[in-house]
Amino acid sequence: MVLPAMPVMALFAFAFGTFAVQKGLDLAVATLMSAIMFAGASQFVATEAWGNSQSLAGILTLVMFTAMVNLRFLLMSASMRPWLGSLHPWQSYPALAVLTEPGWLLGLRYRASGGADAAIVLGGGIAFWVIWIIGTQAGYFFGMFFSDPKRFGIDLVMPLFFIVVLVPLWRGPRRATPWAVAGIVALLAAEFIPGQWYIMAGAVAGCVTGGFIDERV
């Protein structure tokens, strides 16, 4: 189940690696970021703002950016409660520690099609983690030789990946109403609110909308 997402994940990590070179990060720093944070979108943001990393106040800023971008994990892990809730904390929390978008979305799809084996969340997460680190390094070396990865369209891998996981979630226009609300709110927030709040603003707006759309068709 996890296998089809591997090359895409590798490509995303690759994109991060090339970006890290462009912004002048060490290979060790880029690799450790991938190994310890394991969260693509926030790694891009941290790399962009990496100049802050050399003072305690700057580090606090970076941590705040990270928390903002990764607030969505809070919502994602909330949605895992119905599935992993019956497990012992020693089983559920390690699986959550390696939770990523592809792992989460594939997990939800697997469960929707009748699967119940929760070990797949942990196993898949660890496999993604390994791919993530290798992909980062490969991208880093690529970026050292090709100064303009944009020419190859690599900067678009992240949005493309997310769009592609969205398509199978389509259940008709009615069920997509929350998405439309999420998109509009996110666009407005991105335009008018400084920082990275737009993801959270859009996601919460969509989530609340979902709560008010009732079951009748």
């Binding site: 310890i36 990393s53 970076l62 892990s77 678009l156 891998v157 949005p159 979630l169 859009g202 979902g210």
Partner: protein, 108 residues
């Protein structure tokens, strides 16, 4: 090397502190939603909210990036999405989107 040198500004030690701190923030996000939901009762409404969540997160992340990316990003995303709807193959769809963007940039 003393401890002070290791954590001096501009040093590798300081970078490590930054990365570990960011990693900690990330793990906290990954686990706290799950933890919180243990203390919320599951009503049909909350279930529907959780169901609307995945797509909402994805749209909220992607749409602003695509709009900022201009026509090339829109084209690339449209190619990937239609190919995904047609063939259902993630790798194919992402690859086609990347190729479309590279082509568009090479031509215009």
């Amino acid at each position: 090397m003393s401890v002070f040198e290791f954590f001096a500004p501009g040093s590798f030690g300081m970078s490590m502190v930054a990365i570990v701190a960011m990693g900690f923030a990330t793990v906290l996000m990954r686990t706290s939603g799950f933890w919180l939901m243990a203390h919320v009762t599951m009503t049909p409404r909350i279930r529907r909210m959780l169901e609307a969540l995945p797509g909402s997160i994805v749209v909220a992340m992607v749409l602003p990036i695509v709009v900022k990316g201009g026509p090339v990003a829109v084209l690339s995303v449209a190619v990937a999405a239609s190919l995904m709807a047609w063939r259902g193959n993630q790798i194919l769809a992402v690859a086609a989107g990347v190729v479309a963007a590279a082509l568009a940039r090479a031509l215009f």
